[in-house]
Symmetry: C2
Subunit: 414 residues, 2 copies
């Protein structure tokens, strides 16, 4: 079936889903969870075949690990769906409302987008997550996973669709697109009018392609060249804890710190400590000459280092003469994801927050907190780094649009 035909079916399903009650949608989510658990053997078998093909194709151990499913991971996917059932329904929420001077009653209410397309890479758990969050927000979803996970995703989606049908909703609310051809991505990007929004989740090059080629509106996610700036007025113990956590708590996430900026006033006191800690943690520091002055282990930083989202045990580092210089550096190299300042100066914190333009600005906190779970959203479909529609972690409300409902009694405009 062509992507266009699948999108048409999704549109029809979306029309039904838009008016489904929370009770019915939550019932479907629980049925989806049950189906994943019940059909674990079938999913694991499919996953084994993907893993075997992946090993044959020479996938890295890291990629194979992301691809791998076992009964515990499948149970985790099911738990995620059950948790979504417990979250409030964003659809129907009145965002603003009131009575106009002429007596017209105005309400702006949340409605589903309609059809959401998601393009993502290896992890098959995203399949269940994305299906769940879209269904809960009343959207039909078109899932375009990676070819390396095609058997796993097919087994997962088969289970989910049966559960959706059993719950009385249209199976086409959840559809998998052909992952073996690039054509399906192209067709999806051109399905304007049938697909309401496209969310690419993956590496920078995937996101760039989608942003440049899609006529369907896109929500850009995930590229994070995040900085921690240690201010002249920083508590250096807190700074050390925040910097280490931001870099090393998990290396390959978009909210991981990739660059350290240290105010010149505290560089002599702070850099030896942080460089020693990084050395112990196995992190390579790519630093300016001012940083390298404190340790032979520092690798000279190039301009490219400051632009790089390493996603590895590497960090770039520079000494800055002022908060102004830190802000200028971040404006030049930052990707607008998460930027942090460590300072005990209220004025410095206020200034940094006001002038740094990013989805999230942290004051005395690790960049790793930019996360739907940490923010208390309960579910997350990705972290938007664009300014339109949604910025930062996207939960259920971010998967909705709004509609104005205006009620009168034969009102006409004079």
């Amino acid at each position: 079936m062509s992507v266009t035909e699948q999108a048409r079916r999704a549109r029809a399903a979306a029309n039904e889903l838009a008016t489904a009650t929370r009770t019915v949608k939550d019932g479907a989510l629980r049925a989806m969870a049950d189906a994943l658990v019940a059909r674990t053997p079938e999913i694991v078998t499919a996953n084994d075949a993907d893993l075997a093909a992946g090993r044959e194709a020479g996938l890295s151990t890291a990629l194979l690990d992301r691809l791998a499913l076992n009964p515990e991971r499948i149970a985790g996917m099911a738990d995620g769906l059950r948790q979504m059932a417990a979250l409030p329904d964003p659809v129907g929420e009145v965002v603003r409302g009131g009575t106009l001077p002429n007596g017209l009653e105005l309400r702006q209410i949340r409605v589903p987008f309609g059809v959401v397309g998601i393009i993502y890479e290896a992890r098959p758990n995203v399949t269940a997550d994305a299906a769940g969050i879209c269904l809960k927000s009343g959207n039909a979803v078109l899932l375009r996973g990676s070819s390396s996970a095609v058997r796993s995703n097919t087994a997962i989606v088969a289970a989910l669709r049966d559960a959706v049908t059993d719950a009385g909703l249209p199976a086409d609310a959840v559809q998998l697109l052909d992952a073996t051809s690039r054509e399906s991505v192209k067709e999806l990007m051109r399905a304007r009018g049938l697909v309401d929004v496209l969310i690419p989740r993956g590496g920078a090059s995937l996101i760039r392609t989608v942003v440049e080629e899609s006529t369907v509106p896109v929500i850009e996610t995930g590229v994070g060249n995040c900085h921690v700036y240690v201010d002249a007025a920083a508590d250096l113990d807190k700074a050390l804890a925040v910097v280490l956590n931001a870099k090393t708590q998990r290396l390959s996430t978009c909210n991981t710190a990739e660059s350290l900026l240290v105010h010149a006033d505290v560089a002599p006191a702070f850099l030896p400590r942080v460089l020693a800690a990084f050395a112990e943690a196995g992190v390579t520091v790519h630093g300016s000459p001012e940083v390298a002055a404190f340790s032979d282990a520092v690798v000279p930083a190039t301009d490219e280092d400051y632009e790089t989202e390493y996603l590895s045990a590497d960090i770039s580092a520079a000494v800055v003469e002022s908060l102004d210089a830190a802000v200028a550096h971040i404006r030049r190299y930052g990707t607008g994801h998460t930027e942090a300042i460590v300072t005990d100066s209220a004025a410095a914190a206020r200034d940094f927050v006001a002038r740094v333009d990013a989805a999230a600005v942290m004051v005395n906190a690790s960049t790793r907190f930019t996360d739907g779970g940490e923010f208390g959203f309960g579910a997350e479909i990705g972290i938007s780094t664009q300014k339109l529609h949604a910025r930062g972690p996207m939960g259920l409300p971010e998967l909705t649009s709004t509609k104005y409902v205006v009620t009168g009694d034969g009102h006409i405009r004079g």
Copy 2:
């Protein structure tokens, strides 16, 4: 100067504007208003030259009227700017906030987009309006007006920039792009990273081009194939008033009704009345055979008629067998702008509101009410017909993004 260079300057201006206080911004708006009034002779002279060139180029009387400025119209532009100064500043508004279980303080606050590009057609009053609404919301603006208004727009922008400078803000917050070449539009559409959002205001073909070719995120505006559905349970006096107002109160606006759907049960009672009223108002009805049965003046409707946003004294009309059929017709031909039902049945109203997917749904009210002024927004930059970011009339908050500010005390993620 190239558009890219202008966009760079706008970006620098936006950085200053983002932290400007409301007092300073409102002072600039009032100075802009004063400058327009003080420099009326210069603006009128420039406009006379545009009008003369327009007449020579054979512009229609309607277009020449839209292009024309006089001291009253200029005073109206100035008043608009003064009214914007009285509106609340959207920047800094806390959209949501609270304290997380770990003690982190989370606030989501409104911030300007940064740089907004606006592509618009003849009316030079849009120049002052757009500059004002962007400045008030903390955004630098790149204005790409039509070539027919180039002298008027140049004079207006010169006055506005001087006023912005006098008020202590960077002149490059308001810039006019070259209106004589198509290249400037192309460059603007490719200025991703420098321009945060592009708003095309104009005809369907301009909007389609921008949507398809822009890599800068776009907010689609304005195309409205709006329907009025007269339900079986309609009060026919109210229905007549609403239908006539929706079609004839102003012919060329996007919220004007372009199509009438009448339930078969009330067609015999309603159609003769509405057809007579349309005949008297000089409106041509393009109707299905069921409609034509009631008047010889009805022109047969083609499928194209049902798709057409006439913006003229024409309306398409059809008889439908049910509310379901009305919804199906609207889903097929509607553009998601404004759809109206006239009914005294609460069940029918509820059903129509739930199932019709549009920026605004009117119950017993004219489609003409979809308007920032009518909704009480005080200022409007256009009416979005897309689902992403903003839907319906866009006021000041719709010209902002948000930023999460997270404050801790050395918090790290465990």
